[in-house]
Amino acid sequence: MAKLHTYDVLIIGAGLAGTRAAIELADTCSVAVLTKVFPTRSHSTTAQGGIAAALGNMEPDSPEEHMFDTVKGSDYLGDQNQIEILCNNAIPTVYELEHIGVPFSRTPEGRIAQRPFGGHSHPRACYAADRTGHVILHSLFEQSVRAKVNYYSEFFVTELLLNGGTVCGAVAADMKTGELHIFHCTAIMIATGGGGRIYRITSNAHVGTGDGYAMAFNAGIPLQDMEFAQFHPTGLYPLGILITEGVRGEGGILINSEGEPFMERYAPDMKDLAPRDIISRAIYDEIAAGRGINGKEYVYLRIHHIGREAILKKLPEIYKFCMTYVGVDCTKDPIPVMPTGHYMMGGVPTDTMGRVIADENNTPVPGLYAAGEAACESVHGANRLGCNSLVDTVVFGRRTGKDMREYLAEAQRPALPAGPEKKTEALIKKLLSKTDGIRISELREKMQGTMMENCGAYREEKRMQKAYDEVRELAADYDKIALDDKTQQFNTELQEALELKNMLDFAAAVAYSAMQRKESRGAHSRVDFTERDDANFLKHTLLFKTDKEPHTAWRDVVITRYQPKERKY
């Protein structure tokens, strides 16, 4: 019999968005934060370069310029009302983070230091060396300890529970004991982060398996703009570990095998600080043209000209990565880099207060919220600018918390459906009972391979179809997997199996959404439709799960201030 817990609010995920919302709620209602890893192990901690806010500490800057840069960066697909909220709230949010102790690097005047970042017209990335996400997550986690937030660490949520379209709880497995727990609650926040692990080469943590996407999708919630998967231009070759854009922010230059700083050709104005989609494609183009280093699939990132001292002070982690993983002393030699799967712009669609919406008419799902990479408030549109995601998580994490509090004042806790844990119980029982079958790694590797080859940075119809078909086949093969580990305590193999199921579910959604969008926009770049098509596709894709093919609907883009224009850098 599963254990029952009752709370006002359930937050799934303890990264920046979840933790921030938890702090907002802790003093007024009962909150449980469920996380499959200890909170500080969340993927937010890996963010390196900075958090965007137009503080203007280095040169004059304004939220309006931040907004314009973000709209342009999103290839005009971002909802401008949301982007305005983001950019206006960015400044108080960063100050608030500073007030709760985040140890930002400082200017000689003692203010928060800022560095240039891709697609931003001013130095806007507030940073703490190259571990910005790490210090912010730790500071927020520490404040949540102060606020006495209840954490359920190493709990894996398998299912959202809805009662007549209203949220009422979730089922989770305690990985330590293998027991199932039912959480009965009034409101739920999905803050599970992204799912870059569907790609073979990714900067994402092993935990980045898009559990939230699958959870919502399977509960009948649509996924929005899933076709937009960002590839970060500078992953360390060959592992894909992220080399922050901050390297280029501090003056780093990309060069090809001929020693040419090639970004001058692709983005004459912003060069190496152009948005990520453009640079990633440029690197792929250089490699395709045979100008990869030694004919291989990487280019060089040169940083040694800014001097050893500056590198050690501002980019200490990067220096260490390069030394550890590829034996390159980046104070002397160039760093080998290649694009790496990085960020899902799409996700669970939400409105301005983080409420999850159920359809193209913006009807909210009562009690369901989402924020961070798991959500698609659509501040990033078709392409996210660097250091906008950190600010996104904290701004919308807080707004979500605020709105949940208001929701709780009026909402009733709906009854749980009968036998809520049965489905999960049956799934786990089936997984544990099979003795002969294929390994999970086999399916996972095939999925990661096909997604990388056929649904990566450059796309075309038949390859996407191939990716979709293959993922669907793999999903059908899921029934054939057998686990070595049949025990209850810390069955990490079982957890991987559940994660694989989630990934297969939403990887198909990524490929399917991508096929629907017959244009090139932002990170979604098609060789068969090379132009942006505002007449037909200036709108968000909404994908619904059905018994057969997913159902696609379209949602209007909110345009308030900036009309779409050609995107040049």
């Binding site: 500073e98 703490a128 330590k176 193999e493």
Partner: protein, 231 residues
């Protein structure tokens, strides 16, 4: 590619009464991280192998374990750093849960015990609080701690007495006590000034040698000792 021999300490609470070693062979490049080798074993040889991991590049602090006798992050340790015969064990001095997973409750309790959060109750200014770069640098290194527990697990004082607050939590205390913006210095100093506090640090340096982020933990504890003596 070369053959790497792994001896891994195994313990399954559902089956075993005590831990034992099991051998595996993995094909790996010299540059392959040990974590990837463990994945190779888990994914292709024996799915029952249990260990924690998350980010894969030395910032989340999940995969701290004892590799060839030293506490390291599996993701940051390459095969060429540790040779062709690799012995992997769970972190010592914490209760064993399963294989390479240990129970870190004790470790986190110590962390919670030192008021591990920033306190400044005076009304904040409209912008940031001013902090000079040299003041920020005082805590910069300490703030890069990833709570991997390598240091605490390597400390002989902690081996002997796990009531000891331990290097990790003391480093966290240092991070706040030496933050020029924090106002709870006195309370925090009082919390650590017990017989289980920094006086249990005997300048052994195991923590510094174990720290995967190269943090000078011993120095932080020494500064705390001086501070507690008003020196």
């Amino acid at each position: 590619m070369q053959k790497i021999r792994f001896r891994i300490k195994r313990f399954n609470p559902a089956k075993d009464r005590r831990p034992h070693f099991e051998d595996f062979t993995v094909e790996a490049e010299p540059e392959t991280p040990v974590l990837d080798c463990l994945h190779e074993i888990k994914w292709h040889q024996d799915g029952t192998l249990a260990f924690r991991r998350s980010c894969g590049h030395a910032i989340c602090g999940s995969c701290a374990m004892t590799i060839n006798g030293q506490n390291r992050l599996a993701c940051q340790t390459l095969v060429k750093n540790v040779g062709k015969n690799i012995i992997v064990e769970p972190l010592r001095s914490f209760p064993l849960e399963k294989d390479l997973i240990v129970n870190l409750d004790r470790f986190y309790e110590r962390f919670y015990s030192i008021m591990p959060y920033f306190v400044n109750n005076s009304p904040p200014p409209d912008t940031e609080r001013i902090q000079w770069p040299e003041d920020q640098e005082l805590i910069d290194e300490a703030a890069s701690c990833i709570l991997c527990a390598s240091c605490t697990s390597s400390c002989p004082s902690f081996w002997a007495d796990d009531d000891y607050i331990g290097p990790s939590a003391l480093l966290k205390a240092y991070r706040f006590i030496f933050d020029t913006r924090d106002q709870a210095q006195k309370e925090r100093l009082a919390l650590i000034n017990t017989s289980k506090g920094p006086w249990k640090c005997h300048t052994i340096f195991n923590c510094n040698e174990a720290c995967p982020k190269d943090i000078d933990i011993t120095n932080a504890i020494a500064r705390l000792k001086l501070k507690l003596n008003d020196l």
